[in-house]
Symmetry: D2
């Protein structure tokens, strides 16, 4: 499925446009079950919180989600400076035998988890120089998103709303500016709360969506994971199918919202 | 699929919650292809505009979409009075060998196609008395939706926005009032423009969605039909899965939008 | 002020476009202070709840707000049938020496206070025949708003959102349909929660706004009353001044939202 | 008026919370008339576009709006780098006899006019060191807004939406994060399109609003200027008055949107 419309990141093709996190589940069994239901091929791993071999006496995520089955995307959740983030990803590369595809996030404070963009730009520069393939979490600032692309990041990942908020896409206009100018994939990261949020992201022209809380903290995570799979596919197909124009009413001679998002 | 969560209308079970119209396609072949892709089991037919045997010399929809495969829902599109609507559905019953499940719509004017609620209530009363099983297109007025249910309609179908406008759900709050009180299925009818609109309707708790223009007037109707199928399933599953609460930010002690739609 | 742009209702000119209710204040002194601050010239009176002489032993609103200073608008708050509403307004006419300008509202249930439109239409017909000048609270249904105008109501007053909800204007599109077709004044009634809500109503082209809770239940009702006065004037003047077009960005060749509400 | 609730910027009190630009009018006479109607006490001047003495043979804004009457706020409109912006404001200080209060804006590109935040941070640092009192145009990024405050800016001025777009406040949630943490005044700058937009900004808790296009490009700029004056006052007073809670309906036991913006 989707083989005619793959997502290509750093030269590799994926049929799924839904990327998921591995945190906040009750155990690795539930993690696996939900992730399989989501159809995701890329899974993020918070290196500072998840055992992928750092502690050989604890269950390892590598057993639940073998890297042969899933593309790992080590991330820097919990890092508040460029230095911390760079250090964390170097450790990940070591733990994962030279793995280069990573997700950079440098947060601005412990409450809102809004990205710290100056530190993000600094870390991105270092990581790209060190040969990492950097997917980067960022604010929805089109100028700084472009800077991250120019530095050499392989994907830009603006927030829809704050991490763990479930508020959906607060400013589709900024996303549109980012999408219109980007030559690398744009994925919405953070803020998706339910299925329609994911569909909207794809309908806007995003190349993919990354989420964790919306699945893990649903009442039934596995059912929600399946819903998200369908929502992402529905949003992408609707974008490809070319929606009808919005009109005040059908008989209206002109479209009142021509050029508007989603029109 | 969906056999554990069927839509039940007038005592009959359907696995699909997406109902589709049959108008505005370029020919019956495209009509059929799109409708099959949508997975719809119930299809509406505008008796005044579609040949289902009135003219034996023209191609008949009955050949493209055999009633053995699809549940027909004759509708009164183009009727502006209770009398017209009742007459039209009596004709449909004749043409369709006693078929009782119908969709009533009485429009208020030729421009906006907003429903004429007084005439709708009058027609509903007559039709129910004559043994029809009436699914009824209506405004999003919760009091009049309740009246239609009390008259004996088997489903109420409030508009999301004007017919053919593609504006999506303009007032989710009224829909919520209707859903909260209804004991018959509530289906959004009219106004859906793209996949996320359909998902939102189901996430609000609607039992189904009826659409025509959003599929038929997409650039690629068949691809959009498939997107709509997934969007409806995604929205329903997200509703069943119980979404995460919305919060200002993850660390926020309380949900800022408790009780809010979709929270 | 505003003498060049008066609101005309039933042939009489008013310089203020803000109408206010008289309920929910802590006493008649606060009622008067807030209403004076609002600049309102028309005040609604819930005949079933407010003493305007029914009980000669209680303080009367007529003393706090002398009818020589304010135009009284007796209303039918608390009526759930046409009969009740008609009876109540006949009583009001008696108590107020033949006063003809009234506000009709017939509610659908005790919880949501959504209007009962069939009973509203019935009552309007009777009242107009009996010589009342009827300003009528209604849903935002453009077809039924037109019916009320055709019956002879002197103003139609669609809800912005439910009475006492403070949710603001939930469906500006329906209001626009009503405004575009109406030949009598259209006033938003119910749902205004704060100053910007009132400004938006006027910017949409409404002729006025009626509110009660937004002022009476503000932390500081008198300060809020003054805010509402300015907001209504600001909204009206902005509407008259003709706002700039909305554009994706200033350099954008065309307006992306031409024809959109408020664009 | 407003003497009990002044706006204090860099130690100086202003009774008006509306700041206006001086560009885009047809001539200096209209500029003056509109600005007087707006009640603004602080006016921005684009040093690169407006004659304030650079060309002694052309009419000077200083004659139309004498600095004895208005506080000048020289800005760096048209600057795309920190160096350019710093140079421009040094020139302004010279032209205006040591004037220190300035508005910094460094833009990211010529199309969207979105701020370039890294260059803005750099310029702010230099300007503060050189003794300027810097009011700074910025994105709605709460982390970088805080950095600008920490550098020593006397006010932060996040965009509501793009300069000249008239799209209103696209992301009130980010504004709220900025307002909640700021110890200097927060003023919305850019994007206001009509009166209600200005009222909403103040209701959110912003300390003021700066606008230019919304007044200058209204059909009737002087009338719109007066509308904006009232809207800003209305929004501020509504904020101080403490609005009623939003509820699904009046009888609803709890507020469905507690904690929500504007609730």
């Amino acid at each position: 499925m989707n083989t005619t419309d793959p997502l290509i990141i750093a030269g590799k093709s994926y049929s799924s446009r839904l990327l998921v996190g591995t945190g906040k589940y009750k155990d690795f069994a539930q993690t696996r079950e939900a992730i399989v239901a989501s159809g995701a091929q890329i899974v993020t791993v918070a290196i500072r919180r998840t055992n992928i071999g750092q502690d050989p006496n604890q269950p390892s995520l590598l057993d639940a989600l073998p890297p042969s089955e899933f593309t790992y995307l080590p991330n820097t959740a919990g890092c508040f400076s460029a230095d911390d983030a760079v250090r964390t990803l170097r450790l990940a590369r070591e733990l994962l035998d030279g793995h280069e595809l990573v997700k950079l996030e440098v947060l601005g404070d412990k409450e809102t988890l809004f990205p710290n963009m100056p530190e993000t730009l600094k870390a991105a520069e270092t990581l790209v120089k060190e040969g990492f393939k950097v997917m980067v979490y960022c604010s929805d600032d089109p100028i700084q998103a472009k800077m991250l692309e120019d530095i050499g990041c392989v994907a830009v990942m603006p927030l829809a709303s704050l991490i763990g908020s479930g508020m959906g896409i607060l400013n589709p206009w900024n996303l549109r500016l980012i999408i219109d100018q980007a030559k690398v994939p744009v994925l919405v990261d953070a803020g998706v709360g339910t299925a329609s949020d994911a569909a909207i992201a794809l309908e806007l022209g995003c190349d993919g969506v990354l989420m964790n809380t919306a699945i893990a903290l649903a009442r039934d995570p596995v059912l929600m994971a399946g819903a998200m799979k369908k929502a992402v596919e529905a949003g992408r197909e609707a974008w490809r199918a070319g929606r009808m124009p919005k009109k005040l009413y059908a008989a209206s001679p002109s479209s009142p919202t021509a050029g508007l998002i989603g029109s």
